[in-house]
C-alpha cells in the first residue's frame, strides 16, 4: 500500500519545471476564487488533468485561493454587476444567455462573473510571477533550506528513501 501511495505521489509530483508549477498555481487560482460548482471549473480540471501540470501544487494551493475567494466575495459581486450591467456589453450577454452553455454557466450571477474575471486576471499575473519566484527559489534558497536539520532528518526517513527509489 505504501508503494502505491508513493507511486501516486511520484505521479502527482512528476511535472517539476517552473513553468508546470506556475501553470498549476494559475489554474488553482481560477478554481479557488470562483464558485466550485461552475461550468468553467470542469474545463479547468480537464486542463489540469490532461496537460502536464503539477497536480500536487494544483490541489494544495486550492484551499488558500478558496479562502481568499470567500473573503473577497463582495468585491466579486460588485465587479460582476458592473460588467453584466454595462450598457455596451448587454447585447453580448444577452446573446450568450440564449445559448445552452451560457444558460448552464450561471454567468448571469454577478458573483460568478466577477470572480471569473478577477481570477483570470489574477492568474495571468500570477503565472510569470510564480515562475520567476520558483526559479529564484531554486537558484538562491533551495541549497540553504536543504541544510536545515528538519529537512536532513526527513531525508533520512524510510518513506523518503522509498520515494527516491521509485
Amino acid at each position: 500500500m505504501i508503494t502505491s501511495l508513493i507511486k501516486l505521489l511520484k505521479a502527482l509530483n512528476s511535472e517539476q519545471s517552473p513553468r508546470q508549477l506556475a501553470i498549476a498555481i494559475s489554474l488553482s487560482t481560477i478554481l479557488g476564487l470562483t464558485p466550485l460548482y461552475s461550468l468553467h471549473n470542469l474545463l479547468i480540471l480537464f486542463i489540469a488533468f490532461s496537460f502536464r501540470v503539477n497536480l500536487s501544487l494544483f490541489f494544495l494551493s486550492y484551499p488558500l485561493f478558496a479562502l481568499l475567494g470567500y473573503l473577497s466575495s463582495s468585491i466579486f459581486e460588485s465587479v460582476g454587476s458592473f460588467i453584466l450591467l454595462n450598457p455596451n456589453l448587454v447585447d453580448l450577454w444577452q446573446w450568450f444567455f440564449n445559448t445552452v452553455v451560457g444558460r448552464w454557466s450561471n454567468f448571469y450571477y454577478s458573483g460568478v462573473m466577477g470572480s471569473l474575471i478577477v481570477s483570470v486576471l489574477f492568474a495571468l499575473i500570477l503565472y510569470p510571477t510564480s515562475k520567476s519566484f520558483i526559479k529564484l527559489y531554486r537558484s538562491q534558497f533551495l541549497e540553504t533550506i536543504e541544510k536545515y536539520q528538519f529537512i536532513r532528518l526527513l531525508k533520512t526517513s524510510t518513506f523518503w528513501k522509498l520515494y527516491e527509489k521509485y
Partner: protein, 571 residues
C-alpha cells in the same frame, strides 16, 4: 516533449463518471431534505417526505409519503399524499427550464392522525415576527388600570392643549406690550396736551381781539386737522382693539376645547373613544383579524410581488434580482417558455369519509409567458353525508401587466372538530364540534382586490380555556349559548392599500360581556386620563381673565376721544 497526460484524461473522465453516479445516488436524499425544509418553512410545522426516487429514462421524479402537519394541531396532518409522480421533458431541460406534461398526485387524505408531534421549535424572533404579522393576540384586552401607567402615557403624549396654551400666552404677551405702549404712550398725551394748549392760546387771542380770528385762521385750520387726525387714529385703534379681543377670546376657547381633543385621542389608542363598544370592536377585530386576515395579506403580497416582477421585466433588458445565491441579472429570454410549466395536474384521493379529485391546467412561472389561462379545480365529497367542498381558481394573463384571477370556493355542511376559534393569554378557545358552511368569492388584478369570505358555523360547541376571569367568563357563557357563528371578511380596494374588514355576529356578545363586567372600571379609567391631562396642562380657570385688560384700554381710548370731541366743540 509530451504535452498530454493520457492517464490524466482517463482519470478525469472516470472521476466525472463516478461523481455523476454518486450524484444519482445522493440526489434523492438532497431533494428529500430540500422539499422537507421548504415545506416546513412555508407551513410553520413539520413537512415530512418518506422517499424520493429519480428515474433517468424518461427523466422523472416520484415522491412518496408526504405528510403536512396542521400547525394548529401538531398531532394531526393537514393532508397526506401517497405519491407525486411526474416526468420532465429533456429537451426543455437543456435550457434550464422544467416542462412537466403530467403531474399526478395520488392518495390524498385530509386530517389524518400523526404518530409524532409535528410542531417545530420557533425562535423567539420568529415568534415575535409572527405575532406582529398576525396582529396582537387577544390578551384580555381591556386595559387594567393597575397595569397601565396612565401618568407616564400622558406625560409622553404630545398634547394639543399645551401647544395651544403656549400660543395663547405668546399672543397675550404681544398684545399686552402693544396696547400698553399705545394707550399709555406719552406721545398721545403730548399730542393731546399740545392740542389743548393750542386751543387755549388761540381762544385767548380771539377773546382779546376778534381780528386775531382772521390772523390766526391758518392755526385754527391746523388745529382742526390735528384733532380730526387724532380722532381717526383713536377710531382705528378701537377697531384693532375689538379684533384683538375677538382673536384672543377664540384662542382661549380653543385651549379649553383642546383638552377634550387630547382626551379623545389618548382614549382612542386603547379603544375607549367610542365608549365600551370601541373596546369590543377593537377586540374582535384583533381576534378574528389575526386569524383570518393573514391569508388575505399573503395573497396581496403575492400579487404585488408578481406585479413588481412583471413590471421590472417589461421595462428593462437586464433586470436585477437578489437571490440567496447572490445577485442575479436576468436577461431577456428568447426562448419564450416559462421556467416551470406544468401542463396538466391530476389529483385523487379517498379515505373513510371523503373522496377527493381535481385537476389543473397550464400552471407555471412566469404565468404571462404561458399565453393560456391557468386553472385549478378541486372537489371534495363526503361519502356518508351531504358535505362537500369545491374550489375553482382561474388566472388569466393577457400580458405581463394585465392579470385577472378569479376565485370561487364553496364549503357545504362540513363537520368540524377541534378547530381553534380564538386565542387568548389563557389558551385556545376551541370549537369542539360544529358544521361549517363557507364561501369565498373574489377577483384579483394587478391593481385591485375584491374578495369576500363568509363563514357560518352552526351547532357550534365552544370550549373555552381554563383560568378565565372577569368579563371573559361572561363572554364564555354567552358564546356557549351561541348556536351559530357568522364571520364575514372583506378585502376590497387597491392592492397597495386594501381595506380589510372583519364583521361577526359575535360583536354584541363581546359588547355585553364587556359592559356587564367592566363598566365601572372603564369609567374610572377615563376619569384617570382626564385628571392626568389636567395635571399636566395646569389650571385653566383663569384663562378668561386674560381678556380683562381690554376694558381698561377701551376706556382709555374712549376718554381720549371724549376729550378731543370736547375740544372740537370748543372750536
Amino acid at each position: 516533449m509530451k504535452i498530454f497526460r493520457w492517464w490524466g484524461i482517463s482519470a478525469f473522465f472516470i472521476t466525472a463518471l463516478m461523481l455523476l453516479l454518486s450524484w444519482y445516488l445522493i440526489a434523492p436524499i438532497i431533494f428529500k431534505s430540500s422539499i422537507e425544509s421548504a415545506g416546513t418553512e412555508m407551513l410553520g410545522a413539520k413537512f415530512d417526505v418518506d422517499q424520493v426516487e429519480l428515474h433517468l429514462l424518461p427523466l422523472g421524479v416520484t415522491i412518496n409519503g408526504i405528510a403536512a402537519t396542521d400547525p394548529d394541531q401538531p398531532m394531526q396532518n393537514l393532508f397526506e399524499l401517497k405519491t407525486i409522480k411526474f416526468s420532465i421533458d429533456n429537451s426543455i431541460l437543456l435550457w434550464k427550464k422544467i416542462l412537466i406534461n403530467e403531474l399526478k398526485i395520488e392518495g390524498i387524505k385530509l386530517g389524518t392522525k400523526r404518530k409524532n408531534n409535528g410542531s417545530i421549535e420557533k425562535s423567539q424572533e420568529s415568534e415575535n415576527l409572527e405575532n406582529s404579522k398576525t396582529g396582537q393576540l387577544f390578551n384580555s384586552s381591556l386595559p387594567e388600570l393597575n397595569k397601565i401607567d396612565i401618568k407616564a402615557l400622558v406625560d409622553k403624549a404630545d398634547l394639543v392643549t399645551l401647544k395651544s396654551l403656549k400660543q395663547l400666552e405668546k399672543k397675550q404677551q404681544s398684545l399686552n406690550k402693544f396696547w400698553e405702549n399705545e394707550v399709555e404712550n406719552s406721545q398721545h398725551e403730548i399730542t393731546l396736551k399740545e392740542i389743548e394748549a393750542t386751543l387755549n392760546r388761540l381762544s385767548k387771542r380771539a377773546k382779546n381781539n376778534s381780528f386775531n380770528l382772521i390772523k390766526d385762521r391758518k392755526d385754527w385750520k391746523k388745529l382742526k386737522t390735528d384733532i380730526r387726525k387724532e380722532r381717526k387714529l383713536i377710531s382705528a385703534l378701537n377697531k384693532k382693539l375689538k379684533t384683538d379681543k375677538t382673536e384672543l377670546t377664540q384662542m382661549i376657547t380653543q385651549v379649553k376645547n383642546s383638552q377634550q381633543q387630547d382626551l379623545d385621542r389618548l382614549l382612542s389608542k386603547t379603544g375607549l373613544n367610542n365608549g365600551l363598544s370601541g373596546v369590543s370592536k377593537t377586540i374582535y377585530e384583533q381576534l378574528f383579524g389575526a386569524h383570518l386576515t393573514p391569508w388575505v395579506k399573503k395573497i396581496i403580497e403575492f400579487s404585488k410581488h408578481n406585479k413588481d416582477i412583471s413590471k421590472k421585466q417589461s421595462e428593462s433588458k437586464a433586470v436585477t434580482y437578489e437571490t440567496k445565491n447572490g445577485t442575479l441579472i436576468q436577461f431577456v429570454d428568447e426562448k419564450k417558455f416559462p421556467d416551470l410549466f406544468i401542463k396538466h395536474v391530476s389529483l385523487s384521493g379517498k379515505d373513510k369519509q371523503w373522496s377527493t379529485f381535481g385537476e389543473g391546467n397550464n400552471l407555471g412561472y412566469y404565468p404571462w409567458i404561458i399565453n393560456k389561462p391557468a386553472e385549478l379545480n378541486i372537489e371534495i365529497k363526503g361519502l356518508s353525508d351531504q358535505s362537500g367542498a369545491n374550489m375553482k381558481v382561474k388566472s388569466e394573463w393577457k400580458n405581463s401587466q394585465e392579470m385577472n384571477t378569479k376565485v370561487h370556493t364553496n364549503i357545504k355542511n362540513w363537520n368540524i372538530e377541534n378547530i381553534k376559534l380564538l386565542q387568548s393569554e389563557q389558551g385556545n378557545w376551541m370549537i369542539n364540534s360544529g358544521t361549517l358552511n363557507a364561501s369565498l368569492d373574489g377577483q384579483i388584478t394587478l391593481e385591485d382586490i375584491d374578495i369576500k369570505l363568509n363563514l357560518a358555523i352552526t351547532n357550534a360547541s365552544i370550549n373555552p380555556p381554563e383560568g378565565l376571569s372577569g368579563w371573559q367568563t361572561s363572554l364564555a357563557t354567552s358564546l356557549a349559548d351561541q348556536k351559530t357563528i357568522k364571520i364575514t371578511v372583506l378585502a376590497v380596494g387597491s392592492l397597495n392599500q386594501p381595506n380589510i374588514s372583519v364583521k361577526t355576529n359575535l360583536e354584541n356578545i363581546f359588547s355585553s360581556a364587556i359592559n356587564n363586567s367592566s363598566k365601572k372600571q372603564t369609567s374610572k379609567y377615563k376619569n384617570e386620563y382626564k385628571d392626568q391631562i389636567s395635571r399636566r396642562v395646569g389650571d385653566l380657570s383663569k384663562l378668561d381673565s386674560l381678556n380683562s385688560n381690554f376694558e381698561k384700554w377701551t376706556d382709555a381710548l374712549k376718554n381720549n376721544d371724549k376729550l378731543l370731541e370736547k375740544l372740537k366743540v370748543g372750536l
